[in-house]
């Protein structure tokens, strides 16, 4: 159990670090969220994952 826990933590930390590096490089190259929202391929996903959309989905789930 402890070994699985350690492996999970290690994998998660590696993923987060790599992700943060990616985001950092992107910002360094001049990328921004505003530009990303203008990307037609990314827009549907960003809208789907937006906090407002998630909240409304949850409210609908609880309401149902």
């Amino acid at each position: 159990m402890k070994k699985i826990w350690k492996v999970t933590v290690l994998v998660s930390v590696i993923l987060c670090v790599v992700g943060i590096i990616c985001i950092g490089v992107s910002y360094f190259l001049g990328g921004s969220l505003d530009n990303l929202y203008q990307n037609k391929a990314a827009l549907p996903v960003l809208e789907m994952l937006s906090p407002a959309n998630i909240l409304s989905s949850l409210m609908a789930l609880i309401g149902a």
Binding site: S12, G19, I20, I21, I23, G24, L33, A41, V45
Partner: protein, 245 residues
């Protein structure tokens, strides 16, 4: 192979044990060699077998929850009293952890190895058989208190499982979000900055998702098992009181 080589190799193979346990096992074997003396070293080495086999045997006993003892004397000095004959290494089973005892008990600390605890001690020969007979006679939990404790544990387990199911669902949601972000990143590879942002976001989501899922699984399993162990203990206490009465 001489004593030093045997101990060095054994130390390498004891990866299953914690550093403290390793040190105690090695010192026990060291002491055993000291007691045997240089004349009996070869005999003792032949008796012990290879370091790998010794380590595997120790690991097997630990997994079986047995108490490891070094009760056998060296064949070439069976007349001499062996100070290790009563040395025992009790492995860290769940029960020993609960009892908060030192997993390594020596002959100098006989009070640390209570006979009445429901353990599965490992002894050689007849002692082993007696222990098994004793084990069959152990008290089983019973009584209304035990039934109530069991029902309570089950109800609480359902609540805990439900809470952690929601937590795990959040983790799964993060993993799904990672999937969408990575797909969107692949679609927008033309814009490197956008793709990197999407991949980065996806990887961070995956990292958090994994850790949340494993946290939910691990916490729910440990909490539920603790609840049932508590109920079992409550039942045992009731049974003991009934026996005393």
């Amino acid at each position: 192979m001489n004593r030093q080589q045997f101990l060095a190799e054994l130390n390498q193979y004891l990866t299953f044990f914690s550093p403290e346990e390793k040190a105690k096992i090695i010192s026990a074997y060291n002491e055993r060699f000291d007691t045997a003396g240089p004349d009996c070293e070869a005999t003792l080495l032949a008796e012990l077998g290879t370091p790998m086999m010794t380590a595997i045997d120790l690991k097997r006993r630990v997994e079986a929850g047995e108490k490891i003892t070094f009760a056998e004397d060296c064949a070439c000095q069976s007349d001499a009293p062996d100070p290790l004959s009563e040395y025992s290494v009790e492995t860290e089973t769940e029960e020993t952890l609960e009892n908060q005892e030192d997993p390594f008990t020596t002959a100098a600390e006989p009070e640390a190895v209570p006979d009445e605890t429901p353990k599965t001690p490992f002894k050689h020969g007849h002692e082993h058989q007696h222990e098994h007979e004793h084990e069959h006679k152990k008290v089983r939990p019973s009584g209304a208190k035990f039934v109530f404790a069991l029902i309570g544990a089950t109800l609480l387990s359902v609540v805990i499982a439900a809470i952690f199911l929601v937590v795990a669902a959040v983790g799964v949601g993060l993993l799904v979000a990672m999937g969408y972000l990575v797909i969107a990143g692949l679609k927008s590879l033309v814009y490197v900055t956008d793709a990197l942002l999407l991949f980065g976001g996806g990887l961070v989501c995956m990292g958090f998702g994994l850790i949340i899922i494993w946290f939910a699984v691990w916490t729910s399993i440990s909490l539920i098992s603790k609840l049932y162990r508590g109920a079992y203990k409550a039942g045992l206490r009731v049974s003991d009181k009934e026996c005393e009465a």
